[in-house]
Amino acid sequence: MGFLRRTYGTRLLRRRTVGAGPAGRVIMVLSGLRQPIVLILLLIAFFSAISGKPLDGLLMLLVAAGLAWDAGRRSREAQDQSSATKAGPAGDQSPAMPPARRRRAVLAVTWLAGGALYAAVVGSFSRYSWPATAGVVVLGAIVVLIGWSGPLRPRPDPGRLPLPGTALWGGLLVAAGLWELGALLEQPGLTVSSAAHPTISTLTDPLLGSHGGRTVALAVWLLVGWLLVER
């Protein structure tokens, strides 16, 4: 009886404190905005939308809002737990899944067979067509959802990375983004490509003009996605 009362009381406490009511949900989302990745996604959504890619922008906006809500919820749960039990700080870490070789083997075979089929089929559709859009968006969403639930297998923590070396990678990423953005802004219009200032997607036009080229590009994209979701 006492156990039931405690369990009910805990649930009630969680319900009352974590995102209670519309105002609580708004506060939760706003507190999630402190995450740099959420701000980056919002910027991507904005620039995608104004450069004639409303679908990209909408998807980025949805993920940013979901991530902000999730981060805010976790942050508030951690605060509640901390104040209720005086336990150590709960981070953003997701619980690591136990190693499952069978699951990995099934996943690998599924990826290889399905990936080859996917690349060949989606590559057969012309660029910017609705079937190609659906193929890329649906797969991207599935992979993001898989990643959302946690890592597929535990990875050894590489430990604290040397800051200067890590900053070099960050600087390179920013430089690449700025260079691409510069080329985009130098175009006659955000939706009009330029031969004088080509963006990466403009440079890949010849490659992606053929079925074979699209299949190879999709296979590489898939491979990178596989390597990432495995982390």
Binding site: I37, L59, D92, Q93, R127, A132, L172, L203, L218
Partner: protein, 67 residues
């Protein structure tokens, strides 16, 4: 005569070469530079980092194929 087109492509190539150089220094020398895989592993240890990286990957596929 170097055109704007050449300069733009040169910029992309420099970024690519810099990335390859960093990875080489990280994996083949004792320089205090982490390999790209270690950086990604570290970033992806949190949910926001993991989702952010995967969204970036998904987003890379969109401008090439999706309308």
């Amino acid at each position: 005569m170097i055109s704007s087109h050449d300069v733009t492509i040169l910029g992309y190539l420099l970024v690519l070469l810099a990335g390859l150089l960093l990875e080489f220094l990280a994996t083949r020398t004792r320089a205090r530079i982490p390999a790209l895989g270690d950086v990604l592993t570290r970033v992806m240890r949190t949910r926001t980092g993991r989702v952010g990286v995967l969204v970036a990957w998904a987003w890379l596929g969109l401008p090439f194929f999706a309308r």
